[in-house]
Symmetry: C2
Subunit: 189 residues, 2 copies
DNA sequence: TACAATTTTCAGTAATTACTGAAAGTTCGG
DNA sequence: CCGAACTTTCAGTAATTACTGAAAATTGTA
């Protein structure tokens, strides 16, 4: 299977960006190919199209599956495994966020929790623990929030996003509804 | 400068996570050290503490500065450059998001814009372009939104985050406030 | 301006990560 | 349950990335 110039451009870009995104070239290119492919592809087709060895394709597909970025299917009367990328971009977005969090944030949260419990050896350790707590609180807040909103329907999420910074007004309003304690000053540049 | 076990744990963790975060071990460790350091450090202190060569420290600091994750200062009567990490975790959060976007998303946005303008060679290209457009729209929406809200004050942002999924209710309410007309007029930006 | 202190660059090397081909493992139709 | 079709594993190698030490460049000061 020969790529058109357009498809090739897309695929090569994903290959190059892969390393910045935390996957290798193979994984990036395979994902790109699956993303724009109208139908599922088997490993041989992928390998032939991208000029990768069969084993490399196998490993790449495994990694994509571990990211939940591709799923295996079967074609009637064909023993080979076929692969396709999820179609819904909102779903992809959520998956990516979840998997990134799992790999890039959760281990740190866990380390921070441990470290904050340790007894400080001196004043610098005390200070370090304060800093860690700040970091921990922010991450908890941000990821907890994400966890909340990523469960919202794509439509609700889209509305929220389209609202943009106007959310501030709505927020002040919500605040008043909650019993009108702090009037949540609308500041910021 | 000898690290306490607590500090060492923190520093080593950042070194290991570094590669997942897109920086090398040196950069991860230097940042961790600066983050928990009560005062600015010079390059020699950093190199001695972490057992890195002077040149490695120099390169690491340059990279951290390019991420805006550390800034240079001077001590009165000392020619050497001192470095410290920004203290405000909300500011760090925003910086990180901006810099990640610049490196990991913007190039793809640009590629997508180009590719969508190209004339499709066949039906598969047409399909590919549709998929690219979906991807492009989602990224634009998500990053545009981020761009909006990251300008909100930390307090407002914190309120939004604490609101969590309850935002849905507020959102429905906002919708009614706007007069119940079609919800998709560009309120943002 | 000259010089000592400091930082940066860079070529060489070490360490890590990516990729391949061959062999082993698995699966399913006959 | 045999054997062909297919997939995975893995040891070896290639490619990339990280790190070092020496030399060059820069900077502040006497």
């Amino acid at each position: 299977m020969q790529l058109t110039p357009l498809a090739e451009r897309f695929v090569l870009h994903f290959g190059e960006m892969g390393s910045r995104w935390g996957v290798n070239r193979t994984v990036g290119q395979i994902y790109a190919l699956l993303f724009i492919s109208p139908n599922p592809l088997n490993a041989d087709e992928i390998g032939e199209t991208l000029a990768f060895s069969r084993s490399n394709v196998s490993m790449g597909l495994k990694e994509l599956q571990s990211w939940r970025l591709c799923k295996m299917t079967h074609q009637p009367g064909d023993r080979r495994e076929y692969f396709e990328a999820p179609k819904d971009v909102w779903e992809i977005f959520r998956t990516l966020a979840e998997e990134k969090k799992k790999r890039e944030i959760d281990p740190t949260l866990s380390m921070l929790r441990d470290a904050m419990l340790a007894s400080p050896a001196n004043a610098d350790d005390k200070y370090a623990q304060e800093r860690m707590q700040e970091m921990h609180e922010l991450i908890e807040l941000a990821t907890g929030w994400f966890n909340d909103i990523h469960r919202l329907s794509p439509e609700t999420l889209e509305n929220l996003m389209r609202l943009g910074s106007k959310v501030q007004k709505v927020l002040g309003f919500a605040d008043r509804l909650r019993g009108g304690d702090k009037p949540d000053k609308p500041d910021a540049a």
